[in-house]
Symmetry: C2
Subunit: 349 residues, 2 copies
DNA sequence: TTGAAAGCGCTAACAG
DNA sequence: CTGTTAGCGCTTTCAA
């Protein structure tokens, strides 16, 4: 049971060579004779030699690891983004260390520390939805450690090695609402999450602006701040249906709440999209499984992850110190019109 | 722009102390005076000192990191399990390094190497569905590195520091089929993925045994090996409907294919569950969003992740060397009966 | 083409 | 209570 791992020095002794030569041979350094390389490689194979990255990283001052901090790895969006990140990082030869804040600032703080201690070469973060104070990112900035926010970002967080990748939430929301208006809807309600988060703020603004641009008055009673899940959608819908003038369309800032609304609407014997057009946001898997299928906005999650990693790498490569902040990258959303909002073309009973 | 990180030695110099004292002070070692601790902590704070885990890990010979290798971080199951793993690992003070095999043995091999090089203290793996040769795990075993397979496991992979966490797929499948039979179904079809994977093999066996136990003859034409997605389910269903004696129930080894089947059935003007009862496997989010809602089997994904980590920790703690292989842990599935299979109680038109 | 020496930043005997 | 010493395993000058 050979428990201890073979080390460079072990190989060196066995072959009567120095550690340096072994090291060079294994990294295929040019000025080591082919003969020696062959011997080294063979023995390394036999002994199942595994280079100790920790030691190499310490020596080189480069860990080859990226840190990722997300609110959680559940649902549709984050796993998808993480998948993109992991894929792109691996392509670039980086390992990925993943932490979850569980939507809790304290854990976010702790994990940022953790990642820095782990000597990651860059950090990718999506904020917890309770984070309103950003001091914990100051340490990252001071270290000049490349930092990329994605999706849930700190706006106006300047600095030489900080940037962001976001979806154009405003644009996405605007498109949805404009589409609903085109379909003849005039009382469009909006389900939204907490407005201090950029994503919700921007989606809400897109909603408001689209209404105004089309000369539709904004009715505050039609904006429902609710938990963005199935139940939240159901309850919000119930309330709206009791209004003297109920809405004729719902734009929900996420799909789950939209489905909740859809269920409630149907339970009341109303038809979607006839009596109530419904649109969500995120293009979750189940949007094509509901009846009618749910109109939504695709966020290109995986793309976002990949883009974030590429942005990070760009910073890593550039002269580092005092260069300009790379401008944030804004991904374009895709409106996917499905049955739940199609009143004109192919209304589904 | 303080770019270089402060090190222990820096603190030591600044305070006229030795590195060891600083180290002890920071780890709250008992025999350092409170006064000194206070001074050290204060300076550490001021300088924003971040202990270098790499160095500590190298010195200690313990990286405090767990390696995770999954086929991919998409869909419902794996993100959920990874979430469980990350949560439990974090609770135990471990970092988590995540890799994806993309269902490709070559990447699986490479990533196992990667994780070993990163000096992880244990590895959690779910196999790529193309993996039929397991030699790459020999290196792990030789190193006596704790290894826990989950969900997609190598059966009969003995060794002192290897174990597994799986769902009782057989049991789950058996329950589903027994339930369908109780509902009066007699020609039950099965959608399955590749049978060399333990999960599919076991689910299929559960299907077969449940039929036999209830005296229902097995008709091979009713077993459909198909891609386990929406389209695969649709196509398989189309074929089955063309049979001289089409089935009156579908048990699909995953939910997506089940939904595909459901759509096809409805498109043919048939009613679920009346004309065709349908049940899936995995209890994905969307099972409560379809109409009718889909009967499925819950796999306790998050629980699986947590259990796997706990099992790993157990190995880590135990005398290590020659102790017995911990027996695999078999999680009990939960059958969740919903409308799509309820013919008797509350048939939904 | 190879080796010797130094050191990355930390911890852990051991010694005072 | 604090310091000295040594070394984890590797890379990288510099010298031969």
């Amino acid at each position: 049971m050979a428990n201890r791992r073979a080390s460079l020095t072990d190989l060196a002794k066995a072959l009567n060579l120095s550690a340096s030569t072994i090291s060079r041979a294994l990294s295929d350094h040019e000025d080591v004779s082919e003969a020696t390389k062959a011997r080294v490689r063979q023995l390394a194979d036999e002994l199942n030699y595994q280079p100790n990255q920790l030691a190499a990283a310490l020596r080189r001052g480069r860990s080859n690891t990226l840190g990722v901090l997300v609110p959680h790895i559940t649902g549709h969006f984050f796993p998808q983004v993480v998948h993109g990140i992991a894929t792109e990082a691996s392509k670039a030869g980086f390992n990925v260390m993943i932490c979850q804040s569980n939507e809790d600032v304290k854990q976010e703080r702790k994990n940022i520390d953790l990642l820095m201690n782990a000597q990651v070469e860059g950090i990718l973060v999506s904020l917890a939805n309770t984070t309103k104070d950003f001091s914990h990112f100051e340490a990252v900035r001071k270290q000049n450690l490349p930092l990329v926010f994605f999706d849930r970002v700190v706006e106006d967080f300047g600095g030489s090695n900080v940037s962001a990748v976001v979806l154009d939430d405003y644009q996405g929301a605007y498109q949805v609402v404009a589409h609903l208006i085109e379909q003849g809807c005039t009382r469009i309600a909006h389900f939204t999450g907490p407005l201090h988060l950029n994503i919700h703020k921007n989606r809400h603004q897109g909603y408001l602006d689209a209404l105004q641009a089309h000369g539709i008055p904004v009715d505050e009673r039609l904006t429902a701040l609710c938990p963005m899940n199935q139940q939240g959608g159901q309850q919000a819908m119930e309330k709206l249906l009791k209004l003297p003038q109920p809405p004729d369309a719902i734009f929900s800032s996420n799909d789950l709440a939209a489905v909740g609304a859809m269920q409630t609407v149907k339970a009341h014997g109303l038809r979607v999209p006839h009596d109530m057009a419904i649109a969500g946001f995120s293009n979750e898997v189940f949007t094509t499984l509901t009846e009618p299928m749910l109109t939504s906005v695709d966020q290109h999650c995986e793309q976002m992850g990949k883009t974030a990693v590429r942005l990070l790498q760009k910073m890593l490569k550039s002269p580092a110190e005092n260069h300009e902040t790379p401008p944030p990258i804004i991904l374009k959303p895709d409106l996917l019109v499905r049955e739940s909002s199609m009143r004109k073309q192919a209304p589904v009973a």
